[in-house]
Symmetry: C2
Subunit: 322 residues, 2 copies
């Protein structure tokens, strides 16, 4: 459990043998299918001091917990339906904060069209932890897996890269000089990432392989490469940066190291996916319809792994304390 | 969050308004329904130092986490299908224990006929916490709710009462003089309760209201009474005790206080349910078929609340440290 690499090995060794249902996809995917109506199910937990900071506003903690799961659904081409909430609430945190926590969920339920289905609450001597299990309706006959990339596909990315990592750096006071507006935008991306729910239908229709970027773009792209047994060739010059990230990048002395950080930073919650070149026009039109930035960042070739010019592939998320 | 009563009030106030799907049952039930194929879904978390002891064998921790959820499914008349696992693993606990943890799950998957579907793992600075979300297949056209008790129903209980509470007392060294066999049986009940999966079909066929007993028989019976707007009249002399619990009870000076503890102790994981008197013979035959003790412990009347002779109704679980 000490590093992400160990964690994956432990899952493969100990838990994958238990996941014998076809819909579990050998625990190699971000969501599971249940054959009762092809419901898409995903679960992700966030823990105080690991995925969010103790002084993050409590409503944004609730929103982040929900949104990281909605991000998984969107990357699987599914529309949110319902979610379960398991809340481990510290003895030491005022119960009065629960109202703000619920208010954050209420806003996001309305924004993303899903409703709470049930859950469990536990008073804990440990840190605040929020586990969400989300259920989605597939928007097409296919639910894109990590394993579905094909030689010759384009590689696409929604939104931008590195804002989550920079938002954490802002919150930790180590981002350097940034305008107040840029700092606020980055911190907001870290606290309340934007799940690409509105793009899920296009993913369902056009994507071959797809997953959400939570542990860094390059490391997550490497997971697609491994599952699909292909080589993802990314163009580092094509990686899209937000205005705030571009301003940060321009101020860095070591540009190569800076781009490594952006391309491997956690908490992006964008979608990286592959699709056939024939889908280019349709994908760009679908993104334009909803005002979503969509960038072709590379292509799929025969071989293995991910390359992006000279960028390093870290393979794990940048998180608090790492 | 400081007491179970506060928790229920907080849920009713803050989270029930979010649970607008009919299948969420206003967060007043133990499982949720999804209309995609009428899958039964439940989630429960167990936390080190709250629901189990730090030195409990790790395989039994895994089994308990799964079984408390399978108990919910059985009480809803559903057969286990799949489950999701979210594991908050302390930095300080050896990763080598994961193998034993998984072995416990593997045994129970085989015993209860379900498979792992997915999940999430997080290294945490806090206590070990295991969250399971379980999915079940309804075994009949109805999924018994807490709210379905009817005036004139019998009230039934599977198994016995108080063994979980006594098992914790054994583990904490405060159970008094017990034979080694009795002490071992009680500790085993606390660590690895027996979900009544084999009785789920009878529940689906005959029960009106049903729920599993996790927070104490009388408090849980009171939840059925409140949801169904009826009065549950229980006969304290009818409450079934295991041989071990009977031996403990016989040694207590204050019998009334002792019976209060048994009837309000947590971690029973039996099923309390109501059914029409016409179903008596069929229920007893179904229980006899699988060697399950089944006891008629009272009846449903008009009115409100639960009464059991002079027994107190605590309304919350006996847990570690309470």
């Amino acid at each position: 459990m000490s590093t992400a690499g160990d964690e994956f090995a432990l899952i493969a060794q100990h838990f994958a043998p238990l996941a014998v249902a076809p819909g579990a996809r050998g625990l190699l995917d971000d969501a599971a299918l249940i054959d009762a109506g092809a419901l898409v199910v995903t679960t992700d937990a966030i823990v105080e001091g690991v995925h969010f900071l103790p002084d993050d506003p409590i409503d944004t903690v609730a929103q982040k917990a929900l949104r990281v799961n909605l991000s998984d659904l969107a990357a699987k081409g599914a529309a949110p339906l319902h979610y379960l909430l398991v809340l481990h609430w510290p003895h030491t945190r005022p119960a009065a904060q629960i109202a703000d926590f619920a208010a954050g969920l209420a806003r996001d339920q309305a924004a993303f069209g899903c409703t709470l289905l049930g859950g469990d609450t536990v008073a804990t001597p440990g840190p605040l932890a929020v586990t969400i299990t989300a259920f989605g309706r597939p928007l097409g006959p296919r639910t894109p897996a990590r394993a579905d990339a094909m030689d010759g596909d384009d590689v696409w990315l929604t939104g931008t890269v590195g804002d989550g990592m920079l938002g954490l750096a802002v919150r930790q006071g180590v981002a350097g000089d940034l305008s107040p507006a840029h700092a606020a935008a980055l911190a907001a991306h870290y606290r309340t990432p934007a799940p690409r729910t509105a793009f899920a239908a296009a993913i369902a229709r056009h994507a071959h392989a797809a997953m959400d970027v939570s542990d860094g773009l390059l490391g997550d792209a490497a997971k697609i490469a491994a599952a699909s047994q292909v080589h993802l060739v990314l163009d580092p010059a094509a990686l899209p940066l937000s205005d705030a990230a571009a301003a940060w990048f321009a101020a860095q002395a070591d540009r190569a190291a800076a781009m490594d950080r952006l391309a491997n930073g956690g908490d992006d919650y964008e979608i990286v996916f592959t699709a056939p070149p024939a889908a280019r026009a349709a994908l760009l039109a679908a993104a334009a319809d909803i005002g979503l930035r969509l960038t072709r960042i590379g292509h799929v070739a025969t071989g293995a792994g991910v390359t992006a010019g000279g960028l390093a592939v870290w393979g794990h998320a940048h998180r608090i304390g790492r």
